[in-house]
């Protein structure tokens, strides 16, 4: 008899649900994909419903519900923080405390989960178990990894008290070795700079990472002198005199502004050299801390492989530096490294406690199924959607699809690629992707401005056949979840002429034979694709390589700026029609923009999607 554990993360950001069967992830999704509210923090009712439906079960079939953090311990931290800041933090106290107390308050998060689950009408709610926030991260990092044993490092903003934890994973056990506690947090340091540079906290950190290569790290020494005291073993403390998050709802205060030459950039304001340099500086410090933490993880555990999770593990530049350093033979990063992955980790932790085994390690593969754990739609369902709305389309034989789509891509068209099960985690990995020709120098600006409607400084990422990754990138291991950055191989680089370009204009200077995916420092956020991990996407890349000689495609998420990645055929068709995507491929069905009827909406959809 199989044992099912349902994991839930909720009420902060990126709510999600996941089900594991006998310790193996079988379904997982973020609530935002269903609600269409980015980083949705509400109870993941639709994600839970999807997970149950995917397995054809109801709540009584589930052995236990695993919640991703301990609300009581978290409340004690919040209370200690507010008391510790008194008397300067009354505004924060007034805004925070009512949300925690009373019926429906966050302190009763487990009761809220119980009530929300009961209201689904899916039968009696099983027992609810709380795991600590970082234990959930650690479990999500180690248990689905391909390793029998590993060092495990979790780094994020904050959960209960821990902000950085070091674990030793062996078999089905995780041992906590050491931790760093709030308010000292590498994630919150990065978020403070994200905030100061005018981006949203818990959302815009990846933009800051993308901005870093435009700048010089001229503030790095200042950050190390004034803001963070880093010990040789990677442990650290922040100088809280420069941060405001203990006493208010903002990240930085006047001391921070004085240190870095004036007030923070306003949202959507012009980006100046200061923001470039601040981004480069905090990125450099983050990489240095992560490298020291990795060395300590190696020393304390004696392991040769490392597993990573927590929001900071989404910093794929820092991850790439750890790989490049050779401290570990290999690094595995949980694809849903942020709080959404906590739902999966909590469920895995409970499953292992209940005696589940990790049989996948014997096969040398991870247990994430390529992170394709979300909803899928059958050909019949897609056909019903298209026919029901009289949407013009062609249906191809499955064997003809890769060649036909490769031809479209090779001719410069931009393709919406909707296949298989939706990805779990923030990255589109070839199931809900927008694809283009990485060799095309105009592809980046076309995608940024006409498809994604996003900031022009942001680079795109390449998907490459795993068998040919070394021909294109200096990467010594697989990167199936697009969470490692590596340099474009020297053989693919082209001489850079001095065009006099500065700032964001640097992105227009070709630096390689795949300019659409090469950042201004010659790096790329690589996704390696195998036939095992994603057979359909692998077939497309193979067909593109056969047609063009190039096994690389631009792969960006199927959405516009501020919108969650598409989930359903309706979401995909809507995004297709709102943007300048040329061709939409859903399952075996191909839709050409030129054949579609005019698209109109009652209001301006762009005004309805809040900027991220």
């Amino acid at each position: 008899m199989s044992e099912l554990i349902l994991g839930v993360s909720a009420f902060y950001h990126d709510s999600a649900a996941a089900i594991v069967r006998d310790g193996v992830p079988v379904a997982a999704a973020q609530e935002e994909r269903f609600s269409r509210v980015r980083h949705d923090s509400s109870f993941p009712a639709r994600a839970v419903g999807y997970c149950l439906d995917e397995l054809g079960v109801s709540l009584p079939d589930v052995s236990a519900i695993a919640y991703y953090e301990d609300p009581r311990l978290k409340f004690r931290r919040v209370l200690a923080t507010l008391i510790g800041a008194a008397p300067t933090g009354f505004a924060s106290f007034r805004e925070t405390i009512p949300g925690w107390l009373g019926t429906g308050g966050k302190l009763d998060a487990l009761g809220n989960v119980r009530r929300e689950l009961a209201s689904l009408g899916r039968g009696p709610v099983p027992g609810i178990v709380a795991r600590r926030h970082h234990e959930s991260h650690a479990a999500s990092a180690f248990f689905p990894s391909p390793y029998d044993s590993a060092a495990v490092l979790c780094v994020d903003g904050v959960g209960e008290w821990a902000t950085t934890t070091l674990w030793h994973g062996r078999g089905t056990e995780l041992t906590s070795l050491a931790e760093i506690r709030f308010p000292h947090s590498l994630g919150l340091l990065y978020s403070a700079f994200t905030y100061f540079c005018g981006f949203k906290v818990d959302s815009g950190e990846y933009k800051l990472m993308g901005l870093a290569p435009y700048g010089e790290p001229r503030f790095a020494e200042l950050i190390l002198e004034r803001l963070i005291d880093v010990k040789p073993d990677g442990s650290f403390r922040l100088n809280m005199g420069y941060f405001a998050y203990l006493r208010g709802q903002v990240m930085t205060g006047r001391a921070f502004e004085k240190l870095f030459g004036g007030p923070r950039r306003t949202a959507e304001g012009p980006l100046t050299q200061r923001e470039f340099d601040l981004a480069a500086s905090v990125q450099k410090v983050t990489e240095e801390v992560m490298l020291r933490l990795a060395r300590t993880a190696r020393d304390r555990t004696g392991e040769s492989v490392l597993c990573l999770a927590g929001g900071v593990a989404l910093n794929c530049v820092a991850n790439g530096k750890i790989v490049e350093s050779g401290i570990f033979d290999e690094v595995w990063v949980q694809p849903a490294a942020g709080d959404a992955g906590g739902a999966l980790g909590a469920a895995l932790a409970v499953a292992m406690t209940n005696g589940a085994r990790r049989e996948h390690t014997g096969r040398g593969r991870d247990a994430m199924s390529g992170a394709l754990l979300g909803p899928s739609f059958t050909s019949a369902q897609i056909a019903a959607y298209l026919d029901g709305r009289q949407i013009p389309h062609q249906r191809l034989e499955p064997g003809d699809l890769p060649g036909a789509v490769a031809a479209e891509l090779a001719s410069g068209r931009i393709v919406g690629w909707f296949q298989d099960r939706m990805e779990f985690g923030p990255r589109a990995l070839g199931a809900r992707s927008i694809l283009g020709d990485a060799r095309d120098p105009s592809m980046r600006s076309a995608m940024n401005l006409k498809i994604k409607f996003r900031e022009s400084f942001r680079p795109f990422a390449p998907a490459v056949l795993a068998s040919e990754v070394k021909d294109y990138f200096d990467l010594g291991q697989e990167s199936p979840y697009m969470l490692l950055v590596a340099q474009v191989a020297a053989a693919r680089q082209v001489p850079v002429t001095d065009t006099g370009a500065t700032g964001i204009d640097l992105l227009r200077v070709p630096r390689s034979t795949i300019p659409a995916v090469t950042h201004v420092d010659g790096s790329a956020r690589v996704q390696t694709v195998t036939a095992d991990g994603n057979p359909g996407f692998h077939a497309l890349l193979t067909a593109f390589r056969e047609r063009t000689g190039c096994p690389v495609l631009v792969n960006t998420s199927f959405n516009v700026r501020g919108e969650p990645i598409v989930n359903s055929p309706h979401d995909a068709y809507t995004c297709f029609m709102r943007t300048n995507i040329d061709t939409l491929v859903m399952g075996d069905f191909v839709l050409h923009k030129s054949e579609q009827p005019p698209w109109s909406e009652e209001s301006d959809w762009r005004s309805e999607i809040p900027l991220d």
Partner: protein
């Protein structure tokens, strides 16, 4: 009314406790020391302390 009540709790209860705790020790470990070798904390005595397998806490059933 709620703001008044919260103000009473904050200024008459939380503030004195905060002052007192900061006088007696460093409750949020805010002090930094160049002489300290490491800021790592070993989570001794916890369910997930070294050598002990972590256990779930069954909150409701």
């Amino acid at each position: 009314m709620a703001t008044l009540l919260l103000g009473v709790v904050y200024f008459l209860l939380a503030t004195p406790i905060g002052w007192l705790s900061r006088l007696l020790h460093d409750p949020l470990s805010r002090r930094r020391s160049r002489r300290t070798v490491s800021y790592w904390i070993v989570p001794a005595g916890r369910a997930d302390a070294p050598g002990e397998r972590s256990r779930a806490t069954r909150i409701t059933s």
